[in-house]
Amino acid sequence: MRHTLSILVRNDAGVLSRVAGMFSGRGYNIESLNVAPTLDPEVSNVTLVTGGDDKIIEQITKQLHKIISVIAVTDELENPKGFVNREMAMLKVFPKMEQRAEVLRVSEIFRGKIVHVDSKSFVVEVSGSQDKIQAMTELLRPLGLKELVRTGPLAMRRGN
């Protein structure tokens, strides 16, 4: 089962490797990892997607808590409705001439934004759930999708 963990960390020396190293050292998988500042300049937020059965996720959560630089860990899956979960992606498409309109249509359906255009290609920006980005990727693939960058999901707890 896939879990999105939101990990608040103190900005100590090497804090990212403390988190990432725990995963590699203990043989856990990281699907995606996103680090960003928070409102507190001494604290960062790591959003991390990992997988495993309940026992593994429990061990991962405990091991994260054990890292001295880790302030808090929340597992979105424990309370999926309690979280807003978004990911951003940029997709570069090189459509055939006759497919340029189709690219624009797909982008519109997914509320994408064309952030670059030239005579051969588009860069489409889109944000939303992972499923949505996956779906859009599949639709653009036959239209000449050549490059994809994703932020990995960001999660935020609703309310307090």
Partner: protein, 566 residues
């Protein structure tokens, strides 16, 4: 008056009550060594950093205090890694200071630069790079707090040379602010109550405790629990001394080279109460077949230890000492333990029978080859288990664990989790420095002894009267045993017959050497060696092919022990 970072370092150590540093100098720590000299701070010069770390470790294990080590940047720190990892595996409180190149050179591949924080991260409880002298005192305070609180462990503080050289005023903070690091000491009341009920309903209970009892200073409580309930009790390699070694309800050590009765008792029990232990694979053997019919209660201060290897029915996160006190208080409220004793009497009788089937025993013939078990048994009898014993790693370590029944905690000093050869002799130096009035014995094999042989110099220089017991079988005995058992006796790279003359070596290093080939000689040199005032190397020439039993073959269920050569 302003001081420099190095002065602040020394003042901070004084404020922490540090008695001695084990270390080795180099360019990046020159300011610090200068301050050590100016302040006359006690420092013991090891002859290789890993050994220096083992000394600080032996100091910590034999006292319960935090051990302190100091090494230079680059190779100093990389040498120290083995010592840090050794302490980390066994949760030993230590603070290790490493020098670092000046901050403006970090990242430029400068001379003796290494990423100390990166190198030590996976083998330390926490680590710091101090970038500003203003943070130095507070960082040191935090490091000592983290090293010794919760589940203890080594903490590394990396100090760039410009930081130790920078001027600033010393003031030691009164407290620290780590709001998110709050180890849980007290056990959950409801869980303790449930644990008690489960325990008192058991017909075949076993107590299984580990190093947590020693680390939390809970041996009094642990002993009181055994005394009160008379439950058969076993312990891990790290738990030795947690209850008096000759306690009538002690089953001895469990696990790969544990006693027959301990492993069988754990296999057949209905309630297994784990206390400050972590179900290591050397304890459980084949995990799916480990104590399958028992309910499990588990106390540990580290939540990650609970449910990691074995499913737990009643988890209790908390400090062992605290939790046992809570449990004992509840038990004392209950009525008489006599009913419970009756309830478990058949079980205790059964466990006693197992001991008669396969006791830990040996037969030393007067004219036969000298047995290592005989030597260790003699040492136990001579010291009554009241001396500090450090060991190296291998067969001798397991025999020592089987025969040396330490009467108190902090007497048994061994590298359990990492199994670090080369640990025993330097650890004994640290222990003897910490406990100058006690007898300190280092039991070593001829393999591991050579790994840090240079520290004999330190021993002689410091005049610490360690009694070295070298069990010389001229082979990497434990590896030989595995090759015999699991590789059709094909010996590969284990022969140590090319070795120095240890008596000449003792003389060269300036310590007393004594050698025994027979049981009578062994008894004699033990007598002389213990009576001798100063460091002594007692060499016992034993047979090459002796195996250590019982033995649970790796990956086998722990109840399936080999008990003898046949």
């Amino acid at each position: 008056m302003t001081q420099n970072g190095a002065d602040i370092f020394v003042e901070s150590l004084k404020a922490e009550g540090v008695e001695v540093i084990f270390g080795y100098p180099g360019g990046a720590v020159l300011h610090i060594y200068d301050a050590i000299q100016r302040h006359g701070f006690p420092h013991i010069l090891c002859r290789q950093e890993a050994a220096g770390l083992h000394m600080a470790d032996g100091y910590a294990r034999s006292t319960g205090k935090t051990g302190v080590a100091l090494v230079t940047s680059g190779p100093g720190l990389s040498n120290a890694i083995t010592g840090i990892a050794t302490a980390y595996s066994d949760s030993i409180p230590m603070v290790i200071f490493s020098g670092q190149v000046p901050t403006n050179l970090i990242g430029t591949d400068s001379f003796q630069e290494a990423d100390n924080v990166g190198l030590t991260r996976p083998v330390s409880k926490h680590n710091y790079l101090v970038r500003d002298v203003k943070d130095l005192a507070a960082t040191i305070k935090e490091a000592f707090h983290i090293a010794s609180s919760g589940r203890p462990g080594p903490v590394v503080v990396d100090i760039p040379k410009d930081v130790s050289g920078a001027h600033y005023k010393f003031s030691y903070p009164d407290d620290i602010s780590l709001p998110h690091y709050q180890p849980r000491y007290e056990g959950h009341k409801g869980q303790i109550r449930r644990a008690m009920k489960m325990l008192l309903r058991a017909k075949r209970p076993v107590l299984y405790f580990g190093g947590g009892v020693v680390l939390s200073g809970a041996s009094e409580e642990m002993t009181a629990l055994v005394d009160l309930l008379k439950i058969p009790t076993t312990y891990t390699l790290m738990g030795i001394g947690g209850i008096p070694g000759d306690h009538p309800d002690s089953l001895g050590m469990l696990g790969m080279h544990g006693t027959y009765r301990a492993n069988l008792a754990v296999d057949e029990c209905d309630v297994l109460f784990a206390i400050g232990a972590r179900f290591d694979d050397r304890v459980t053997g084949k995990l799916d077949e480990f104590s399958v019919n028992s309910k499990k209660i588990h106390i540990d201060i580290d939540p990650t230890s609970i449910g990691k290897c074995v499913e737990t029915d009643i988890p209790i996160v908390g400090d062992v000492k605290n939790c046992l006190q809570q449990l004992l208080a509840r038990l004392h409220e209950q009525d008489d333990p006599a009913g419970f004793h009756e309830q478990i009497a058949p079980w205790r009788a059964r466990v006693a029978d197992w001991n008669n089937e396969h006791p830990i025993a040996y037969e030393q013939h007067a004219n036969g080859p000298l047995l290592p078990q005989f030597v260790l048994d003699k040492i136990f009898k001579m010291t009554e288990g009241k001396a500090v014993m450090t060991t190296d790693v291998g067969q001798h370590q397991m025999w020592a664990a089987q025969y040396y029944h330490a009467q108190h905690p902090n007497l048994w000093v061994t590298s359990g989790g990492l199994g670090t050869m080369g640990f025993g002799m330097p650890a004994a130096i640290g222990a003897q420095v910490a406990r100058p009035d006690d007898v300190v014995i280092a039991v070593v094999g001829d393999g591991g002894f050579m790994m840090n042989i240079q520290e004999l110099t330190t021993m002689v220089e410091q005049d610490v009267p360690v009694k070295i017991v070298l069990l010389n079988n001229q082979v990497l005995g434990m590896v030989r045993q595995w090759q015999e058992k699991f590789y059709d006796n094909r010996e590969s790279s284990i022969d140590l017959s090319a070795q120095p003359d240890f008596m000449q070596l003792a003389e060269a290093f300036g310590l007393k050497g004594m050698q025994a080939h027979t049981a009578a000689e062994a008894e004699q040199i033990l007598k002389d060696g213990f009576a001798y005032d100063g460091p002594v190397l007692m060499e016992f020439c034993t047979e090459r092919g002796t195996n250590c039993y019982p033995m649970v073959p790796s990956g086998a269920p722990s109840a399936k022990m080999l008990t003898s050569d046949s």
